[in-house]
Symmetry: C5
Subunit: 249 residues, 5 copies
Amino acid sequence: MQELFTEGKTLILACDQGFEHGPEDFNLQNIDTQYIFDLAIEGKYNAVALQAGLAKHYYKGDNRRVPLIVKLNGKTKFDNDDPVSYQHTSVEYAVQLGASAVGYTIYLGSSHEQVMFKEFAKICEEAHKYGILAVCWMYPRGPAIKDDLDTDVLAYAARIASELGADIVKLKFNGDVSAMKWVVKCAGKTKVVFAGGSKVSPSKFLGVVEQMHESGACGLAVGRNVWQSDQPLKITAAIREVFGLKHNL
Amino acid sequence: MQELFTEGKTLILACDQGFEHGPEDFNLQNIDTQYIFDLAIEGKYNAVALQAGLAKHYYKGDNRRVPLIVKLNGKTKFDNDDPVSYQHTSVEYAVQLGASAVGYTIYLGSSHEQVMFKEFAKICEEAHKYGILAVCWMYPRGPAIKDDLDTDVLAYAARIASELGADIVKLKFNGDVSAMKWVVKCAGKTKVVFAGGSKVSPSKFLGVVEQMHESGACGLAVGRNVWQSDQPLKITAAIREVFGLKHNL
Amino acid sequence: MQELFTEGKTLILACDQGFEHGPEDFNLQNIDTQYIFDLAIEGKYNAVALQAGLAKHYYKGDNRRVPLIVKLNGKTKFDNDDPVSYQHTSVEYAVQLGASAVGYTIYLGSSHEQVMFKEFAKICEEAHKYGILAVCWMYPRGPAIKDDLDTDVLAYAARIASELGADIVKLKFNGDVSAMKWVVKCAGKTKVVFAGGSKVSPSKFLGVVEQMHESGACGLAVGRNVWQSDQPLKITAAIREVFGLKHNL
Amino acid sequence: MQELFTEGKTLILACDQGFEHGPEDFNLQNIDTQYIFDLAIEGKYNAVALQAGLAKHYYKGDNRRVPLIVKLNGKTKFDNDDPVSYQHTSVEYAVQLGASAVGYTIYLGSSHEQVMFKEFAKICEEAHKYGILAVCWMYPRGPAIKDDLDTDVLAYAARIASELGADIVKLKFNGDVSAMKWVVKCAGKTKVVFAGGSKVSPSKFLGVVEQMHESGACGLAVGRNVWQSDQPLKITAAIREVFGLKHNL
Amino acid sequence: MQELFTEGKTLILACDQGFEHGPEDFNLQNIDTQYIFDLAIEGKYNAVALQAGLAKHYYKGDNRRVPLIVKLNGKTKFDNDDPVSYQHTSVEYAVQLGASAVGYTIYLGSSHEQVMFKEFAKICEEAHKYGILAVCWMYPRGPAIKDDLDTDVLAYAARIASELGADIVKLKFNGDVSAMKWVVKCAGKTKVVFAGGSKVSPSKFLGVVEQMHESGACGLAVGRNVWQSDQPLKITAAIREVFGLKHNL
């Protein structure tokens, strides 16, 4: 099995977009979750991040060669003004499905943030007990957030994830490398991965990946820039190179 | 006992309309749940779908020849603008009643959808544990849904059911075969059955059933077009023929 | 001990009005719960229906000769526009108090009906486990109900009680015998008892009781027309006669 | 140890005013909970009523000579229009602290009354199990209550407490002895204690105590008229005399 | 290990500001939680107060020489008008992390105060069971509070904490020594520590510390006036001197 960290770095292939955005992100090839697993294994990703239902149907046989992160909550595109997303999958079930880590999204700044703090802190306790990792998808959003890419907001997000007990926090990247170094510092011993975001040109994407690496991130959680690409392994190789990881893809 | 799938197909005789719509759907013959069981057995249906109370009173003796799907939630006709329906029957009790599968309705697009995601995901975990199947009645409805037959909406519905862990998802059919093929694709390894809907002429109904089959559905969940018909076994035979199943009814 | 059904019929002496309406229904004689038990035993009622607190204080010694129905929820007269009533007594405690059945009120058409469906379905599961009966006080009320005596509304109420697992449903009677026969039919294998309602003249009351019997009810749950009467045993004898039960009161 | 009832009577020294009203009720002497215990023991009270935190710190050693009633909920003076007060202390913990009884306040007529009915009924079940008593502080208050001293309101309050299972109900006294006799009747086997209320002149207070006794109360729950008095044992002796209890204070 | 009280006094180094205010309180030095521990150990503090996530990552090895207080709830700066903060960390988990005490914030006067009373009372029960202390961060705030430094408000806050079972209550100091003596009296056997608050000049801060000591506090919970200082051990020595504690820092 590949491991969740390679020389302290982690590249996560995320496929929770079907829940968050709907199937409009997909085509006839990548709508098939097996295709995502094939890419993850060939691209030597450190993990695939999925909802429990997909894990139940696909995390079997050879697909077990890539570690699994089970997302424990999820939200549709229908609710964005003051979002909340409840835990719907237990840590125990994620462990039964074979997960090496669990993921959970917090909408910092939502009027419901207290509910999500409570759920995530409990998830960290339980993950700790089972000996797996807790990953926080930390997205500032809601009435209290004017700009979700503001450095102070991102620094606050990183700190909260750390104080709640996240092992890894996934954050958006705002393009200001020195500012993001502070954000990474605010995460303390919680490791930071940046979100790949929506698809852009490979050259633009790789430029951002270089900045992410320079900011001190331990990796990234990428989805659309890989599995929407017609050269997913080539872009994967380039990402690995930025993070100083071996590749012969 | 007949089985939940015959050559990969499933025909479900649904009788949850008394809860959802009221007894106005019934007459002196089909108000009797025994009549529904008689049809299901003679018509070689793969399952009868009922609320727990009816199962408790009728799922005995010969009626056990047809597999049982217990609906775990239900809503009256009184609340439709922003619907929610809570789980009122436990998976454990459904198993005690003899269920081969449990059903649960999610109103995608309701402002309460998070509550239903949470309940259904837990139901899938439990059904998994008991070795029975979880069926999602997935109905887009509520403030976020302009058209519940829109292809993108149906595709999203199929994907969410799959990501939450449904073994079977029941969807409405919008009449566009190529669009519905995409919807079926979006359900991944979750099998799709289409809803029979309200009663129409036999010829019209069978025309739609042919389109459903062509779209890749593994079957349908039919109620009123069968038990409101004066020739229920004849129409059942016709449905079976469309899905390539044996019949000498 | 007298039994909950005599030749398939049941006459329940209800005394939950102190909770629902306040002590204004009572006088110095019938405010004493012992008086209610005396009437129940002398009148050979099949059950007394009470809240747990009264059962705790009075269901002892000779009073145990009449079976007990413990009401598990209750509502004051202060809230009627969009009513809800939560379960406040457990089935387990009712069993400890000696109950042969538990009762629960559902306000069908209330915006809170889902909460009550959930509680009552669970109560049916538990009652089933303890081997006692579940009785549904089914009262259509709230924003969705224009006329709580409308036949369609009463038929819907009967069907919902049956689908949720009630063994007995208590309904109001609307005076239209043929309509009420349909309502009784809609209850399926759930037995119907009609509510006695507020006090009217003995002759008027007995006229209604005859119609109730003709409609197919298995009995009635009567309170004020008996214990507010100055001839409670005489009216009880008359009711028993209508239902074809022996009496020498 | 003194007992909770002496010849069927009970005098409770209440000290929950610090929670309900704030320390403005206290001076440098009576702010000390030890002073309250000293009075209770010297005055031969049947119980002291306190919150769990004070019991934890003071219900030790000689203070154990007076029985303890632990209040399980409490409300500040900040919320009065439509009050609710949740149970914050478990019956189990009260028992560990040495309680002979538990107390709980219900705001009858509040829009939250259902929540309090549910909590109190459960408390009665648990107190029953542990073999201790349940005392209901029953205060009509909220949008549905025009006059909390109205006889019908007080009678309703007494009856609800009884139907929920209270062993003792604490009520306000409205000054009309014959009306209050009806209220006491409505409590059935639940014993009635009246609230001492805010401080008035000793002669006025003792006049009211005589009326309370005449109304059929089994005692009173008094606080400020005793521990705000500069002759607390003298007034205690007078109260005892009214209730026919021995005293040489 | 240093102890939670030294000669009846306690000095707590608080570092929960990253959660409550965001990282804007920190610089490149004190953003590192190890720096906080270094100060606590060198400054002979009686405890460090942290969220569970930071405790999980830093409460190891030599850092265990200072006792730990785990904060069980926390709130961001985004919600202040009518604040609520739910318990997100269990007492059990705090114990596993090595805590000698748990902390919890109550916003007295918030419309959600009942929720926090309930959670904190339960925390006191559990802390009692595990043999650790319960510390109440008691902050009057919300619609009912006009002035959170008003003496009556602070006295009420102290009393509520005591009635709920706090071993220690942390309060703000309003500068009026004789008033604050009454506040300390109202806390009864619950010990009072005052909040250090935001950074002021060392001389001004030490003047306030002298007043706090004079008011009868058993110590203080200080953060920014120490770890934002460029002479944190010098100011710590001065605080210790005020409280009559040894120091050779």
